[in-house]
Amino acid sequence: MTKLHDNCNLSDLGNGSEADVVALDGDQDLRTRLAELGFCASARVRVVRRAPLGCPLEVDVDGTRFSVRAEVAQGVRVRRA
């Protein structure tokens, strides 16, 4: 695997692709909220689809679906599965 693949964020993933959460960026409140919703380290996430204009994203975490705006998704660092 190249470095490029190891270091991307949730909003870089194409529709249907899976990844594991590596870490969360952003302010404390947002990180806590994301972690509570299940976006914690090593969780498996999948981008299900995007809204017609490309944002927000529908993301699957442990079988629960969330609508996540692109700039929030950018704060979720992932490693492609």
Partner: protein
């Protein structure tokens, strides 16, 4: 504010759970109608309290906390929920025990919250709600196993069908709460020496987590624990449920069909609010008219009769007349929310609304404001983000509501030429369309400015759960309809009634003597000019003259504070138009009288094109609707925002009308 003294046997129980787990339905079943709804001091978080009905033993008070996903407080809802459980909420005694309501079909997040609640040390009872659906899907957690693992009693209910509520009530009566077994609490790496579960423990835990940056680990530990508690037996079934929902979403959220279905659904809702409400509104209006006539018939005239008919009855009618639209809108909103489509709709339109600082959640409130701002503003309750909700409330009255149409119709019909351009576009229609677009543009602009000015609260509208589709429960939709309707009547209705009476006083007093030789219509006009409203018209004339209005239009502006459509009937009195029974005929006469109106004794017409356009622009922006003001106050709980909105929209209307008049002259 201390709570009133309670008997020693009085027990207080709090209900807590994630949003939309049927917690409020349970609360309604437990308390019947023995409940009261108020706000917590200083915030617009609903405080719902009641007593358990039908129990022989000690009295049990139930407090329905706001639906929350976490006790780590970021939103006012979460802060109230946490503070109540920790005994830190002003005016609320710490409850003796807590019922944690968990959605049996989606238990993971409920167990996450349960884990946090247990840290606070309150004796607890777990209520697995909606077990019927969970069983049908084959995803219901094993209640007995869960109870063993947690060391807590677990009760199964189906709040929408009232099943299990008796068991829950008995459990409350028996005080069947317990403290969790030690291993029900999560352990964090490197965190030791926390006190026993208590407010102190929760406080210490928060300190440690914040200072060591362990939020991620804590959340992960709670999620792991939830997984252990649930086991993985139901995972395959849950995936199947997801699968069905996904098949629906492949159509409803597809790039092309998705937006089309969205437009179809929203168009139907809007049409329904507009069209289905028409008939009941007419019944209500003619009913109140008939009531007014019979009151007039029974009394011999004079102020008392006028007060009863044109003050009180008209005011009550003015409240009730909003009900059809409110109920129809909330019926659709209830069905859309319950089925799960609402979050999909928000998903689809999030991006376009973001351009003006809002999110997909603001769509329904703004759309329904085209019928009437009152139900629209009430619908804004569904917006979780406070800042966004406030912006929506502030700009909703700029959507062209149906009460503006009579004003537009008479002005456009009388003064905008009946020409066509490009062979088929009527100028009158274009002006009307222009007014709709104008309101939307001003709203977008105002929303953008406000979203720049107001500080973001919490994480903003960034994340929304998209739950699987399910069949809406008619009963819970019905209960919510009843609550919305009665809340509107009780909370906004009283203010609207009071304001109608104030406007009636302004339009009626002081009385003037009839001079000899005056016919009825001339006397009415003469009388009107001398009332407080008439004098106000004169007083504000210097302010409205730059807009091209004389004092008679000023009376119309004051009169239509009660409701915009009153403008037409006020102008009818002002111009001494003889009253007829036929409304269309009267409209034509009023338009005719307006056309003949002149400035003072000159022969310069009052209603030239510049003044008409300026008046249209003024009505498009100004908050000429005290009912809206009353509802905004009830929804924001703040006079500052209410008055600020009224003044800002009036000032904006003045400036826009001034510019319009200047340019058009």
């Amino acid at each position: 504010m201390p709570e009133p003294a309670t008997s020693p046997r009085h027990v207080r129980v709090a209900l807590i759970g994630n949003p939309n787990v049927g917690k409020t339905s349970l609360f309604n079943h437990l308390t019947g109608l023995r409940q009261k709804v108020a706000n917590y001091p200083g915030v617009t978080v609903e405080r719902r309290e009641g007593r358990v009905a039908g129990l022989p033993g000690p009295e049990i008070g139930v407090l329905d906390l706001p639906g929350v996903n976490s006790l780590v407080a970021r939103s006012p809802d979460e802060k109230v929920a946490a503070d109540v459980l920790l005994g830190r909420q002003d005016g609320v005694e710490r409850p003796d025990a807590v019922v944690v309501v968990v959605d049996a079909a989606r238990p993971r997040r409920g167990l996450f919250l349960l884990g946090q609640v247990l840290e606070t040390g309150l004796p607890a009872l777990v209520c697995l709600n909606m077990v019927d659906e969970a069983r049908r899907e084959g995803v219901a957690p094993n209640a007995a196993a869960l109870s063993d693992a947690l060391g807590l009693p677990v009760v199964e209910t189906v709040a929408s069908r009232k099943a299990g509520v008796d068991t829950l009530r008995e459990a409350l009566a028996d005080g069947r709460f317990s403290r969790p077994s030690a291993h029900a609490l999560v352990e964090l790496p490197g965190v030791q020496g926390l006190p026993e579960p208590s407010p102190e423990r929760w406080g210490r835990l928060r300190e440690v987590v914040a200072s060591a940056g362990l939020a991620d680990q804590e959340a992960a530990a709670r999620h792991r624990q939830a997984s252990v508690l649930l086991g993985d037996t139901a995972d395959a079934r849950r995936a199947a449920q997801r699968e069905r929902s996904d098949r629906i979403d492949r159509v409803l959220l597809s790039p092309v069909l998705g937006p089309l279905v969205f437009i179809l659904v929203m168009g139907t809702v809007f049409q329904a609010v507009f069209a289905l409400a028409d008939a009941p509104i007419e019944w209500i209006e003619s009913g109140f008219d008939a009531l007014g006539s019979s009151v007039s018939g029974a009394l011999s005239g004079g102020f008392f009769e006028d007060f009863l008919v044109n003050g009180v009855l008209a005011g009550v009618g003015g409240v009730v007349v909003f009900l059809p639209q409110i109920l129809i809108l909330f019926l659709f909103i209830g069905l859309l929310e319950d089925s799960g489509y609402m979050t999909r709709a928000a998903f689809l339109v999030d991006r376009p609304l973001r351009a003006i600082g809002l999110s997909g959640r603001a769509f329904i409130p703004l759309l329904s404001s085209f019928a009437c701002a009152i139900p629209g503003i009430m619908a804004a309750r569904a917006i979780e983000d406070r800042r966004e909700r406030l912006i929506t409330l502030m700009v909703a009255p700029l959507m062209t509501c149906s009460a503006r149409l009579p004003v537009y119709a008479i002005l456009i019909g009388a003064f905008v030429p009946e020409q066509t351009v490009l062979g088929f576009l009527g100028v009158q229609g274009l002006v009307l369309l222009g007014l709709y677009l104008f309101g939307m543009v001003i709203a977008a602009f105002a929303a953008l400015v406000m979203s720049r000015m107001l500080e973001r609260s919490g994480v903003g509208p960034g994340i929304l759960e998209m739950a699987p589709y399910r069949w809406p429960s008619l009963k819970s939709v019905g209960i919510r309809l009843w609550q919305r309707g009665s809340m509107f009547i009780r909370r906004a209705g009283t203010v609207i009634l009071a304001m109608s009476i104030v406007v009636w006083v302004l339009m009626t007093f002081p009385q003037t003597d009839r001079e000899p030789g005056m016919d009825d219509a001339t006397y009415a006009a003469h009388q009107q000019a001398n009332t407080f409203a008439g004098r106000l018209g004169h007083i504000i004339e210097p302010v409205i003259e730059p807009l091209g209005y004389d004092w008679k239009i000023g009376i119309g502006l004051v009169g239509s504070l009660a409701a915009r459509e009153v403008f037409v009937s006020t102008m009818s009195v002002v111009y001494a138009v003889e009253q007829t029974d036929d409304a269309t005929d009267e409209d034509a006469r009023v338009a005719d009288a307006m056309g003949r109106a002149r400035w003072g004794s000159s022969d310069r017409p009052v209603y030239d094109l510049a003044t008409v356009l300026s008046l249209l622009v003024f009505y498009a922006i100004a908050l000429q609707c005290l009912s809206t003001v009353a509802v905004v106050y009830r929804e924001t709980g703040s006079w500052l925002w209410t008055a600020g909105q009224f003044l800002a929209l009036t000032a904006l209307a003045w400036v826009a009308a001034f510019v319009t008049h200047l340019v058009a002259s």
